[in-house]
Symmetry: C2
Subunit: 272 residues, 2 copies
């Protein structure tokens, strides 16, 4: 293992900081977030993310091609740190972090920046389930949307469960979190900004999502899993569409509804 | 609380059986599964499911309209049982079971029965994430599919996390679990059975899902989240379609992919 640092104490300050990254407050204080397992670290590297720390379990086969290939792509000056298996498991939030953890920098764009990008956006208004948020980011990245915005009160995008669920989509999708409805109003009213309109799926709307004509400047809005949209948010929505449900359920899962609307939009763009 | 039974010991046999329902083996031994919280119990009752046991926390407001309405719909001879809050929490798998648990009977249909029902089916081939399975059942019930089949090796439909994610969809959707590929072959070859074909989304297929013409006898097949289809399963699939992904991701979440295909099919049926 060359002369890499080896940590076996829970009291070590690097380990303390690493474990703190499980909490949102500390992620933002440090400006960093956690990547667990080979797949996510590979995706991050391929997307050009800069790994700032790499932790390997003492029990990991350091000589394997998989590990060596990751080490070879660390930025100059960054060396792996070896952790006792126990400490690595404590630092991870997954049951099976595969003996490898990395830390990379939180990278958000400004609202105005994202607003001006060519192509449609997603706006998540208080989506709170980390699984849903991760899946929606994965869908948005797969659909090559211009970016994703979240309203204050949504789950943190750099929550380890969201990061995992996104399957690395967070690295390719321009993101801006915790904006306010006031911010959105200002963008919608801004002369210097691209004109955009807010479109949302609602159970009681009359127009079906597949009879609606999407534009590349649309912002698809997704509400809270249980409560839908606040009144103030609903007032900002220009177009309401519905996903017809012939069966016995009142609604779909939020990530499913978001994906149906996004992929109907993609299909219209591909066919026109 | 009238003279309902009140349990405060973890050693009580009813409580022991209740806690065992968290494990698949015991669910099938008892033929029962767990419903946690008001929403799920309400949905079960509305769908006509027979509640066999009802547990209320000692801290629950028994006089509330919500609780009384559930008690009023218990089958003759079934009385609520009061549990100490601690015991109720131990018996539940959710963080917040809202002080109410119910037990109802596992209700599966035979493969041949479901095969003959009019309308399309879903076949889940080793879908393993309970969140995905629950979401897919919710989608299938919302789409009013004829039924849902799972191949051996898929997560148990009566797992509490699946039941919750389905939002009660398990009560309206005809279900048959743990069938083998041999069973499917026999149904496909059966003279006495309705002719059906297996259709699956695959990243490398050439035909887009929206250029494909679905029929009401189709069976949409969804593979394992990481491995996709086994070779033997792939051999049974007659039509391969693809969901075009313009962005940086190689695939979509399994529940999202299933929902896109199912709702494209619905749209075609609605438009023809």
């Amino acid at each position: 293992m060359k002369d890499w640092e080896m940590i076996s104490s829970r009291q070590n300050s690097r380990v303390k900081n690493l474990i703190k990254l499980q909490q949102k407050k500390h992620r933002y204080r440090q400006g960093l977030f956690l990547l667990e397992g080979f797949n996510l670290i590979e995706t991050a590297l391929k997307a050009g993310a800069k790994i700032e720390e790499l932790y390997l379990s003492q029990q990991l086969k350091i000589d394997s091609a998989e590990v060596q290939s990751i080490i070879a792509r660390l930025p100059a000056g960054i060396e792996p740190v070896i952790l006792e298996e126990d400490l690595l498991k404590k630092s991870a939030t997954t049951v099976n972090p595969q003996g490898i953890l990395a830390v990379t920098r939180i990278n958000e764009r400004s609202l105005n920046d994202i607003w001006q990008l060519p192509g449609p956006l997603l706006l998540l208004a208080e989506v709170q389930d980390p699984g849903n948020m991760g899946t929606i980011i994965r869908t948005a990245a797969a659909a090559d949307l211009a970016g994703l915005l979240t309203v204050k009160g949504s789950v943190d995008i750099f929550n380890p469960k969201v990061v995992r669920g996104s399957m690395g989509g967070i690295f390719s999708l321009p993101l801006c979190q915790s904006i306010t409805l006031q911010d959105i109003k200002q963008c919608l009213a801004g002369d210097q900004l691209k004109p955009r309109r807010l479109v949302a799926a609602e159970p009681r709307a009359s127009q079906s999502y597949y009879d609606f004509t999407f534009t590349t400047d649309d912002i698809i809005v997704i509400g809270n899993e249980a409560r839908g949209f606040s009144e103030e948010m609903a007032d900002l929505i220009e177009q309401k569409i519905t996903i017809p449900l012939p069966g016995s359920m009142e609604s779909l899962n939020a990530a499913v509804a978001a994906s149906l609307v996004v992929f109907e939009m993609l299909k219209q763009f591909a066919q026109n």
